[in-house]
């Protein structure tokens, strides 16, 4: 103590300690800086797109300029039916996705809960998962016709199998001691499923649904390109026939923006609903 206190008399300017580098593995990054870097990537993409088209080295038929795409979007929105196309596409994605989720959540829960159910379904689902959903389109047209049900079926085929397996994994990740604690408190099987498995796996399931919603959009476009006369996928296909590359870009970007907004929205809801999950 005596030796330490003698240091108090020394007058040196305290050197500021440099904050840890963001380049450490699993290092940290401040929120404003994160946003800045994220924005930079979008700006860079836009800038390089613009400079390539402005330099005139690429035929606008292959790569339209950003300005062309914006005016085409305006055109499509005001004189044509961009919003109806977007609306019908969102409806199809939501319908197919909702049917998948309504089936996948209970099935995944039971697969994660009971080994015999797992034995019955899991190998079958693993097999089905590798069947290319796109290759089913001709069959789906044959079976379900060209009405709304065929698009919804294609989306279902593309999302359901992935979803069940991922949800059963979420349920399998529930810590054994949470289940056993409930059992030694006298919980029945049904109570363990409802009060522990479902509640404990819910944050993971929510993430699974968020991820599979992305797959649903991919299969929507496939379905609409083959068997539709409305929707964003249909519009993209039509534009191809008339070599309207700028319109194809509008369709793709609109889907991208919808995806980005729903994804961020769902992340926000996740944080609100499940504040105990550390990310």
């Amino acid at each position: 103590m005596g030796q330490l206190s003698s240091l108090e008399g020394v007058k040196t300017k305290p050197k500021p300690v440099a904050p840890p580098s963001s380049w450490t593995v699993r290092g940290t990054l401040s929120k404003p800086l994160y946003r800045f870097i994220a924005l930079t990537s979008f700006v860079l993409l836009l800038a390089s797109w613009w400079s390539v088209t402005a330099s005139g080295i690429v035929d606008p038929m292959f790569l339209p300029s950003p300005q062309d795409v914006v005016s085409q979007a305006w055109n499509w929105a005001t004189t044509d039916n961009l919003f109806t196309d977007t609306g019908i596409s969102i409806y199809r994605v939501m319908a197919g996705f909702a049917i998948s989720a309504l089936m996948a959540v209970p099935l995944g829960l039971y697969i994660g809960a009971f080994q015999p159910v797992r034995a019955f379904f899991e190998p079958l689902l693993e097999f089905s998962r590798y069947l290319p959903a796109v290759a089913f389109v001709p069959l789906v047209l044959l079976w379900a016709g060209i009405g709304e049900s065929s698009k919804i079926t294609v989306i279902w085929l593309g999302t359901f199998f992935q979803m069940v397996l991922m949800i059963s994994d979420d349920v399998s990740r529930v810590p054994m001691s949470q289940i056993e604690a409930a059992r030694t408190l006298g919980a029945t099987n049904g109570e363990v499923i409802r009060k522990v498995l479902l509640r404990s796996a819910m944050p993971g399931m929510f993430d699974t649904l968020r991820l599979t919603l992305g797959f649903a959009w991919t299969y929507l476009v496939v379905a609409e390109m083959v068997a539709a006369n409305s929707g964003l996928g249909y519009a993209i296909l039509q534009s191809q026939r008339f070599l309207q590359t700028d319109r194809i870009f509008v369709g793709i970007i609109v889907i991208g923006i919808i995806g980005l907004i729903t994804d961020q929205g769902l992340r926000f809801i996740h944080r609100r609903l499940f504040p105990w999950v550390k990310k």
């Binding site: 001691s177 949470q178 604690a181 059992r183 030694t184 006298g186 009060k195 509640r199 404990s200 999950v277």
Partner: protein, 265 residues
Amino acid sequence: MSTLLVSHLNKRFGAFEALRDINLTLQSGEFVALVGASGCGKSTLLRIVGGLETRSNGVLEIDGVGITGPGHDRAMVFQDYSLYPWLSVIENVRFCRGLKAYRGQEANEAVRHADLLLELMGLTRVRNSRPDQLSGGMRQRVAIARALMAQPDFLLMDEPFGALDTQTREVMHDLILHVKEVEKSGILFVTHDVEEAVYLADRVVVLAPHPGHIDSVWHIDLPKRTQDLKLAPEFLHYKREITQRIRATSGMVSDLSVLAALAAG
């Protein structure tokens, strides 16, 4: 007043003999610690009593009634990750009240009991916090309160303080002794820490591996437990003797002699 009886109990996992001829009785209000080298089957024995594992043969009963599965007369406390992170502290403690097994029990009584348990475990201040907002020691207090809420005849604890630091463990030790005074449950406690076992238990049961069997039973005859007692000669005597028994049964002694021989060249 209940009696848990384990008699000529055996457990096999396929060809592996985990436990052989286990005999043990535990009364309400009694504290028995199971210690032993890793692989001696102490956790398996606790899980069999809890109904989470089945016995291969032998008798396991409470007051003459055979045990066939888990039940709230034998609530269990685990080492970690057993709390429900989506529930607050008080909701975790009251978890069992939502189960069919407790339907028809007096609700006012339960509310009072939950409040008493929060007070007993020093959790009143964090009543509405979530488990992830608590330290490891506080989380284990919640887990113990949740188990006691079921008013079990026997409280089964599987290395409940194994993940805690030394200072927190000491606090928990005095707390659990206090719980034992108040709640009257019999406690069966698995640990690898001999000091913890001697400090807490009325009886320490040493299990030995290959196959798991009871090596020796130590009746701990010590005055009222205080932290200072841990340095008293009679306390250290128990600790030394039991530690030596565990070493002798774990094969560690012979390993050391092999090492010595190797070192001597």
